[in-house]
């Protein structure tokens, strides 16, 4: 090679693009985050004397509440990774609840799951037809599907459930899954938890919550998370699917059938959201289908997915955070909520120190201010008004998003209408 030519090794280093290569792999970041959260919670629990923060029951509740959100978020992940924004998750979830109830009361919970997936997938199919084939704005289509899902299920319930349950807004009772526990481990952890040892008991409580009274649905959802990761990031199918969300024109030019992959992704998305609906119906305590049952969980799922940076691990974190905060406020109300505020102060303190180390004075000052404010709240009230605790999950999500530095990155062609040719 002639000397005047550029040798790649000496090629001028391009100006660094804003995003850097990651030195730490994603799973490690996730593990660190989880560890950090556990430490934070057990410290808070110790300092405030509120053991509920890490009790088995709280964790179990969190898991149950997070489940439908997690599944909806996974649905969102599939669609958006293929470049289709899915604001219709709520509608597909509603379709899922109806399908689950309809099949479930007749043939049991497994049939409910399948039917929910099918009904959700129908919603997904409609979304795919509108957005992929007809090039309709994704948000328009999603909004329409939310309306259609709600209208259709109400209509169908009046026709089909009314004669059975004597109530046009409710299905007959649906049989539920049995739950399973790793009993030996669970008992051992239970003893550990009961000893009230700082840190150790907290971890035991959390772990015990995760291995006790587990519904097959929970295991399935975890499988879905792992499966989605493997499928989307480790197979050719996933590569092709994601390429449709990053640069569909390039994908098409390489012989990827973009329409097909978008269809598959959006239908899968609907099916997952539908299963999310089934998770709601099959939750202990739910009679079956109930009008208004999803109550915005599809939207929360969407938020969890964005929160999780369009990644399976991240959205698991988002759903868990929401479920945890919701579980906490439902179970124990104002007091524990205050403990959470205290935890937020601790978190902010850590962040402020980090910012000081990095010599980011402004961010640090902002953090100190926020921490001071929150601490004043913690100090001055005994119990947060119940009107506000109900929405603790919303507040926590907002605060976490506001505090966590925003490095979110959506698929490059997400929401862009793609036309072949």
């Amino acid at each position: 090679m002639s000397t005047s030519l550029m040798n790649p090794a000496e090629a001028p280093l391009a100006v660094p693009p804003p995003r850097k290569a990651r030195r730490i792999p994603g799973w490690a970041v996730g593990a660190l985050g989880v560890a950090g959260a556990v430490v934070l919670l057990s410290t808070t629990s110790y300092l405030t004397g509120v053991p509920q923060l890490t009790s088995t029951g709280t964790i179990q509740t969190a898991v149950r509440l997070a489940l439908p959100i997690l599944l909806a978020a996974l649905g969102g992940l599939w669609a958006e990774r293929a470049g289709v924004v899915n604001i219709g998750l709520e509608g597909m979830m509603i379709m899922g609840t109806w399908g689950a109830a309809w099949a479930g009361y007749q043939w049991g919970p497994w049939a409910a799951l399948v039917a929910a997936a099918v009904f959700g997938a129908l919603g997904g199919l409609l979304h795919a037809i509108a957005t992929v084939t007809f090039g309709v704005n994704h948000i328009v289509s999603g909004v329409a599907i939310n309306l259609l899902g709600a209208g259709l299920t109400k209509y169908l319930s009046t026709l089909i459930f009314f004669p059975l349950s004597n109530n046009p807004r409710e299905s007959p009772a649906v049989p539920k899954f049995d739950t399973y526990s790793a009993s030996g481990l669970s008992d051992w952890l239970g003893r550990l938890e009961a000893q009230q040892r700082v840190g150790l008991s907290d971890v035991a409580g959390i772990l015990r919550g995760l291995v006790t009274g587990v519904s097959p649905l929970t295991m399935l959802a975890i499988l879905f998370v792992i499966g989605s990761y493997l499928l989307l990031w480790r197979t050719r199918f996933g590569l092709r699917l994601r390429s449709c969300g990053e640069n569909p024109v390039a994908a098409e030019s390489l012989g990827v059938n973009v329409y097909l992959y978008k269809y598959v992704a959006v239908i899968a998305s609907g099916a997952l959201a539908g299963i999310g609906g089934a998770a709601l119906v099959l939750n202990p305590g739910q009679p079956g289908y109930l009008e208004g049952q999803t109550n915005g969980r599809g939207f929360i799922g969407l938020a969890a997915m964005i929160f999780g940076n369009w990644r399976p691990g991240g959205l698991l974190g988002g759903a868990a955070l929401f479920g945890y905060a919701d579980g906490l406020q439902l179970r124990s109300g104002g007091k524990t909520f205050l403990a959470l505020v205290y935890g937020a102060v601790l978190l902010l303190a850590v962040i402020v120190i980090w910012q000081l180390v990095r010599r980011r004075w402004f961010a640090a000052a902002f953090g100190i201010l926020a921490a001071g404010l929150l601490y004043a709240v913690y100090y001055s009230v005994d119990e947060v008004p119940s009107e506000l605790t109900t929405y603790a999950p919303h507040l926590v999500t907002l605060i976490v998003l506001g505090v966590a530095s925003q490095r979110l990155r959506m698929p490059a062609a997400d929401g862009v209408v793609y036309r072949r040719g």
Binding site: L13, A14, V15, A21, I24, S243, L254
Partner: protein
């Protein structure tokens, strides 16, 4: 080298778009193992023809033969199967995927997506000299590397006929040479190339034969070794070849733009993107900035325009300190700005031309009275630009997207020269623009300079840079590392300076050796 059956034969190809006939009865025959160039003005229909050959678009009429067999490509997959590969004018890479993922996408059945695929990529890179790290994200690559990835993609699929659509538009001469070396090497291994370029010298340097397209139809085939660039250009447009040269100097000693000690940091704690830039542009002077893409030119321009916030340093226009002002205030102070990417930064594509006239001038006459728009004024002035700058359009109410690239660029130039700016910042003002439009834009910039306009010119087209500029500064890794005298410097010298290979000519005066900035110093991601 020609054999009996041509590699590819296109006959009677016609392709219509709404309002446009992109190809009309095109004939093209490419021999096995040759580099066949395709030349034509902007919008002549070259890319469209190639997309048809690659199965991305279906011809309305006409037939395609590959290796003597008539074929019908419904998708690129069909074309790939037939051994045809295409490197697009606009790179077709997914930024957020790795090089390896981009390469194997769509061809996973060959070697999977894992270690085997990686091995194969490295083999190919070895064989052709297209070295690049398969594990790196594409968004972190510069243009030359991206092009390597594009060619690797094609090779990975086993293509024997490779279409290169304007591959050299964004490369510096050294990179072009390197590309040509690669192409020649591959040609010897039996690959066939279809090569599109506006740069006729390059065509003559690399091509074995050339087909010329004018207004969507083939006007002839020539032997590039036997014709001059001028003859080729005349076949393309039927007019004379313009030149960017500016003869007499109009430089005054009145300083218009003064940049002092300007610094910019992309991410806290990383290497600076702009490092202590000092720069002066005087009235009547064109200062050219040479540099390989990605060395901070974009950032420099955007910092001067106030689109990025300087970390330290000052920007002065005349006596006025602009450092703390926003982009609009800087524009109001008298800066015109031709952005490097007219589609992304210069135009509102779906809006009518007159709305595009308002952009950047929304507070100034004649298109606005401050807070209220003056639509009549905007329309009148748009008509003026259309006339003066020879913007070929059916009217001023059509959407900007309906115009060809050259005409879009003329509109942008007309807009930025409106309202008598004192400083024009022109980033790649003629990129991807055909010779006719190019000549007009050069003339307009020269005229404005003669009227006392100060111009900061950034261009990858070294002929343009050398021809237009009064002074050339070379930018490397965020620093101005050398000055060059446009009267004596050659593109090759400039190219060496730009890549940091060291001055090879007296025409380039290097500054004190730029402290080698460490490559590392990267923060962990996410």
């Amino acid at each position: 080298m020609s054999t009996t059956t041509p590699a590819v034969v296109l006959s009677g190809i016609t392709k219509r778009f709404p309002g446009v006939v992109a190809n009309s009865d095109v004939h093209l025959s490419v021999q096995v193992g040759e580099v066949h160039a395709l030349c034509g003005e902007n919008g002549a229909g070259k890319s469209t023809l190639m997309k048809i050959l690659y199965g991305m678009q279906q011809p309305d009429e006409g037939t395609i033969e590959v290796g003597g067999q008539p074929v019908r490509f419904r998708t690129p997959a069909d074309a790939i199967k037939a051994g045809i590969g295409m490197v697009h004018q606009h790179f077709m890479l997914a930024d957020n995927l790795t090089v390896q993922e981009n390469v194997v996408l769509g061809a996973e059945s060959l070697h999977g997506i894992g270690a085997k695929a990686r091995k194969r990529i490295l083999e190919l890179a070895e064989a052709t000299g297209l070295t690049v790290d398969p594990a790196v994200l594409v968004e972190r690559l510069g243009v030359a590397d991206r092009q390597r990835v594009e060619i690797l993609k094609v090779l990975y699929r086993g293509a024997k006929v490779i279409i290169l659509d304007e591959p050299t538009a964004v490369l510096v001469p050294q990179e072009v040479d390197e590309l040509f070396t690669t192409l020649r090497g591959m040609q010897e291994q039996g690959f066939t190339f279809l090569f599109i370029s506006h740069k006729l010298d390059e065509v003559r340097a690399i091509a074995d034969s050339v087909t010329i397209i004018r207004r969507g139809t083939t006007v002839g085939t020539a032997d590039p070794k036997a014709v001059s660039s001028r003859q080729l250009a005349e076949m393309m447009v039927g007019s004379e070849l313009p030149s960017p040269e500016t003869r007499e100097s109009t430089v005054t000693d009145r300083v218009v733009l003064k940049v002092e000690n300007l610094g910019l940091v992309a991410v806290e704690g990383t290497r600076p993107v702009l490092d202590d830039i000092d720069l002066v542009v005087r009235a009547g002077e064109i200062v050219g900035i040479a540099g390989v893409e990605g060395n901070g030119q974009t950032e420099l321009v955007e910092t001067i325009m106030g689109m990025r916030k300087a970390h330290h340093g000052r920007v002065l226009l005349g006596d006025r300190d602009l450092t703390r002002l926003g982009t609009l205030a800087r524009r109001e102070a008298g800066i015109g700005y031709i952005p490097e990417d007219r589609h992304r930064q210069g135009l509102l594509l779906t809006q009518p031309l007159w709305a595009n006239r308002i952009l950047g001038h929304q507070t100034r006459r004649p298109v606005s009275n401050g807070q209220w728009l003056d639509l009549a004024g905007a329309k009148d002035d748009t008509r003026r630009i259309v006339e003066e700058f020879d913007v070929r359009t059916p009217g001023i109410d059509v959407a900007a997207v309906a115009l060809s690239g050259g005409n879009q660029q003329k509109l942008v130039v007309g807009r930025e020269l409106a309202g008598d700016p004192v400083l024009l910042i022109a980033s790649h003002p003629t990129r991807g623009v055909d010779v006719g439009a190019q000549a007009l834009i050069w003339d307009e910039i020269k005229n404005a300079r003669a009227r006392g306009l100060a111009v900061l010119l950034i261009s990858a087209d070294l002929d343009e840079l050398i021809g237009l500029s009064d002074t050339i500064r070379v930018m490397l890794r965020g620093r101005l590392v050398a000055d060059a005298d446009p009267a004596t410097v050659t593109p090759e010298d400039l190219g060496s300076a730009m890549t940091g290979a060291g001055a090879t000519s007296a025409a380039v005066a290097e500054h004190a050796p730029g402290g080698a900035h460490a490559r590392g110093a990267e923060l962990e991601g996410e």
